[in-house]
Amino acid sequence: MGILERLARRELVVVTGKGGVGKTAVSAALGVALARRGRRVLVVEVDPRENVHQMLGVAPSGGAIVSAGPRLWVQNLKPQQVLDEIVREQVKVPFLADRVLASAIYQQFAAGAPGLKELAILGHGFRLRRRGRMDGETDGWLGGTPGAPELDVVVLDAPATGHGVALLAAPQLVAEVIHQGPFGRLAAELARLAADPARLGVAVVTQAEEMPVEEALELRTALAARLDRAPELLVVNGLYPPVYPHAPRAHAAHDAEDPLADLWRRRRALNERELARLLAAWREGPAPSPVLELPQLPADRGRALTEALAGCLEASAAAAGEAGWS
């Protein structure tokens, strides 16, 4: 079974990486690739600009779950709304729920309690996916959100702020300080989910440049230290295309007259240097996760580019499988 087929069997796939590496494009492409594998997929983003919508060719929806093709949906999530929703479900008297939501204690708690926003982001995907699956044992709010489609996988384009590990470690942190009640139960449930690679997959996105490579390696170390787990997948995005090996090599003197070819060759060489450094470090240790490569493509952001990137993910996954790295 290839890496994409394995990810398609997870409940939640968290796509993480620093800002500017193309995390959103990879999340959208991964959503398309998993939907192509027959799974019902929701791609969730946490950004008012709704870039995932753009990448999937869907108009901004302001928070609603909207269809983005066969077996594919997209949603922009506001963490505060998720927390408020949980309060409303729990405090069934609307007047009282309003009092609680308006109270200084609740507002300060929601804004300042460590890890709560992150808990809401992870918990939302989890709740949605639970819908209709756990009829016998739901306790109301854990059962999910009415009106949502039945889902197999939720792909989460994680917020770029802070370390990706903060999001995944949040349930543990919250579980430590809140022992009971809906938030406490959700935290405990999500802490189990985050630690279980069979249920939650982590895809790290990076670029073959110095800083992103450092950050990807740091992320892997932090995942091992705090959650005792490894990422399932590393995607190296934004590569300049390889220079054709069979083409006659141009001379240095020639390059000076052909600045475009020179720039291509040298940026590609920089990519290859950093990629080699990344792979050498990544493949140390037991059972290293597969590494997929994505090129820069000459196309504007939109559905066509996302479909093309999904195709390149699939091609790279097939190549990784043949090389024995899947």
Binding site: K18, G19, G20, Q90, V91, F95, L96, V100, S103, A104, I105, Y106, Q108, F109, A111, G112, A113, P114, G115, L116, K117, A160, T161, G162, V177, I178, H179, Q180, G181, F183, G184, E209, E210, M211, P241, P242, V243, Y244, A247, P248, E257, D258, P259, L260, A261, D262, L263, W264, R265, R266, R267, R268, P295, Q296, L297, P298, D300, G311, C312, S316
Partner: protein, 372 residues
Amino acid sequence: MELISARHPLTIFVGSGGVGKTTLAAAAGVLAARSGRGTLVMTFDPSLRLKDALGVGEEAREREVPVDLTSLGLGLGAERGRLDASLLDARRTFDRLVERYAPDADSRQRILGNRFYQHLSGSLGGILEYMAVERLFEVAAAGRYDQVILDTPPTRQALDFLEAPRRIVGFLDSGALKLALKPWFDAEGRLQATARWGGLGRRAERFLDEVVGLDLLRDMAEFFQAFAPLYAGFRERAAAVEALLAAERTLFVLVSGPGEERIPDTLFFARRLEQAGYRLGPIVVNRVHPRNDPRDTAAGAITPAAATDPCRPDGRELLRWLGERDHRGLRSLADLLPGRPLVSLPLLAEEPTDLPALAALGEDLERRLAAL
């Protein structure tokens, strides 16, 4: 337009993550030092190679470290033309503040040891950003430098940085603090706020107890109570920091990535800076792909052999497309921000990671600004 001038002894580099702010801030620092100004560059999270280039290690988290400019023909420790560098660490700066404003050792320990405080730096949006400005303020107040250049943390949402001082004041002013100043829990161990609500209040209290967890509430209450004596000093400081950002002598340099998809971020940043009354200097669009080089006729140097594979585009065609895209982006940005000094810096074949390369980058930027 000048990048470095005596009129603006404080320069703040802002922009989204991954656009090359840190490198440009370092290049501006080298430029200022070479022009004879005693300069400090304060950076966030520089790459290993940039740290090597500046010759700074972990000790730069504690203090300003001199940069050896002898490779540029400037002596180490010279009075004029000196460059220092420091690394910003939000947590340490916050700890230092607590230590300064705490009235006694006991209250200091109560804050530093509080569980809520220990998680605060990670959870309160903007605290990292605030600490960057706070540190700038410390350095500016000390007056040891002619020129201070501040790199800012990578914030995708520009608001975090600009609103940081106001947000901190708002946080300290908020209801929770006021509640904390009274006892949170009455004699029967009931939350004060809900005791007033009668029967409904008891339900709400049970809910808050369950949902929020009284342990966490107690941690938070304790933190705010312990923080109360520091509050006046802290609040005053945040107001002074905000005034410094808006002062005549502070200039913002906005760095953007190339390409049309970056425009909304850059535009948003520029408008926010203006609205806040800050002085926006040049807008630098970094790593722009070259476009339509007239010499670009040497077809055949690299032949598109595998053009049928959509995942292996021809590099020249890709670069041409990127060149067009980036210049489209530049034109739109110029239209959207009329009258603003806008310069672009080309994508280099190698990232500048040593002092001569940083010096060359700073000169290039200055030359392009002068040509405006």
